[in-house]
């Protein structure tokens, strides 16, 4: 269980996170969404212990991440947006460093590399950006850690690789693992992220499961313009409109439309989902 209490962080005079509080439960794949510069990467780096909170605290299973205790680090993996091009073959890196994560599975690493059509015998500093990213994703999933923090994992991946990524995450993530995926490419991850967290500048606008969202908001895909819609957008296939769900009707959540709705009606949505 991850508990964030009153978290604050700023870069010099520029505050990024302010009074952030939330709880992340086990066994879920959280989608962390937000505009550029709202602090998604900062939050992830604070969660994994790469930065020290300036205010408030983070508690992950009783650990303060910034202590970077080996027993804590062995239970989590952070995949940054920009990955390192190590001067080693992928398989050698996995062999050399995988042993530090107790549940690291070499077979799984090779299997995921195969899913991504990546060559484990290739030197990592000679891989393309996408191949490198896929190697690190394979390594992250093969570590079998309790917590995986991924920052923009689909950036730099080609179209087939994005599908392979979804397949790898759903197939190779164990049930008790918690994934926090920060992304702008919501369509790439639409079907795998649940719950959804939407960060605003210095605030959490939404932290709810897809079920809770569809209980409270209705996503209409008909071509008829509905009066009182919170948000409407013309799409090539028709129209998507977001309404307050008054009749307990079921609908498929469109994350892009949800994101825009939340940004248009911040206080309303915050009030609706306040726990």
């Amino acid at each position: 269980m991850i508990e964030i209490n009153d978290l604050g962080f700023s870069y010099g005079q520029n505050p990024v996170l302010k009074n952030i509080s939330m709880k992340l439960e086990e066994g879920k794949i959280y989608g962390l969404l937000g505009e550029n510069g709202v602090g998604k990467t900062t939050l992830l780096t604070l969660l994994c212990g790469l930065k020290k909170p300036q205010k408030g605290c983070i508690d992950i299973d009783g650990y303060n991440p910034y202590d970077r205790k080996p027993s804590f680090l062995a239970n989590q993996y952070y995949l940054s947006d920009e990955v390192a091009a190590v001067n080693m073959k992928a398989i050698d890196y996995a062999r050399n460093y995988g042993k530090f994560w107790e549940k690291f599975d070499m077979g799984k690493f090779l299997e995921i590399m195969k899913v991504f059509e990546n060559d484990p015998e290739q030197k990592m500093n000679r891989m393309s950006c996408g191949q490198l990213k896929k190697t690190w994703i394979s390594f992250a999933l093969a570590c079998n850690t309790r917590y995986i923090f991924m920052d923009e994992p689909t950036n730099g991946l080609d179209i087939p690789s994005k599908a392979q990524f979804r397949k790898a995450v759903t197939k190779y993530t164990s049930e008790d693992s918690t994934l926090v995926i920060s992304t702008h490419q919501v369509r790439d991850l639409e079907n795998i992220i649940d719950p959804i967290i939407i960060l605003d500048r210095q605030d959490v606008l939404l932290n709810a499961t897809v079920e809770e969202i569809s209980e409270k908001l209705y996503f209409d895909y008909s071509n008829e313009k509905i009066e009182g819609a919170l948000y409407s957008e013309m799409t090539p296939g028709g129209c998507v409109q977001v309404l307050i769900n008054t009749g307990s009707e079921e609908s498929k959540v469109n994350i892009e439309a949800l994101f825009n709705t939340v940004h248009l009606h911040k206080e309303l949505v915050k009030g609706m989902f306040a726990k």
């Binding site: 027993s71 680090l73 190590v86 460093y97 042993k99």
Partner: protein, 276 residues
Amino acid sequence: MKDIFNIRRFGKYFVSDLGSAAANFGLSLLLLSSAGVIVYLLMGFFSLITSGTWDGSGMAIRCATLAISYVVLMISMPPKCYGHLTDKRSGSTWLMIPASTLEKYLSMVLITILVIPAIFFGVYCGLDAILCAIDPNCGDSFFTILGTIPSLLDEIPEIAVAEFVTDMMRPYSFIDDHIYGILVFLLGAICFKNNKSAKTILCLIGLSMGVSMIVSPVVLHSMVSVAGSLEEISDPSAIFNSPLFNNLKVFDTVSDLVLMTGLLVAVYFRVRTLKH
């Protein structure tokens, strides 16, 4: 306690770190260790072309090559092995490896101070010994010279003016300079984001200037107090045989120890507080 230091985990980490150091600095180490042979071959070919006879490098050039190679090793090795720690991508990957700060630090210090220099000197002197065995014109190998130093030093007090000077020539006096040099460049490698060696050298120059501005007047004042007047300072025997120089020896040892401890602590705290 297990989260601070675990011998099994340290062993695993040390082996992995060694592998990473080999990947980052292996080729450079090989080149530097073979510098003696490379220079010997180059000089031999040159003399063959110019005078028609094979004349490889003599003792003076071999010593100079060893000294230059060692200085290059000291300056370039820490940034190549651990300079990536300040890079966001590699640094965060390194920080997230499940080993304690102490284990990572110990491995870093052991590899830079002990393992790589030992490999360098071992290979360098080994190749030199082979060279000297093949070509008698090279003179004695470094292994042979090292063995004769103690007897040479026994003769020195006859000509040297103070124990202080002879002590500086003993092989062990080299060890603290070696540790100090490596630690300075290691600290520079993990503190500066780019131009690590150049910035470290500039800092060293600045610090040396600052320290000498403080120390020089103190030493000069002490010398004057021993020799009586500034004119008499030109007579070294009065100074070298004075208690001042015996105290300088103590001061030198103490300052080296303080400096080394300070650098070791600084490297540890830099590793402990690295953020990305």
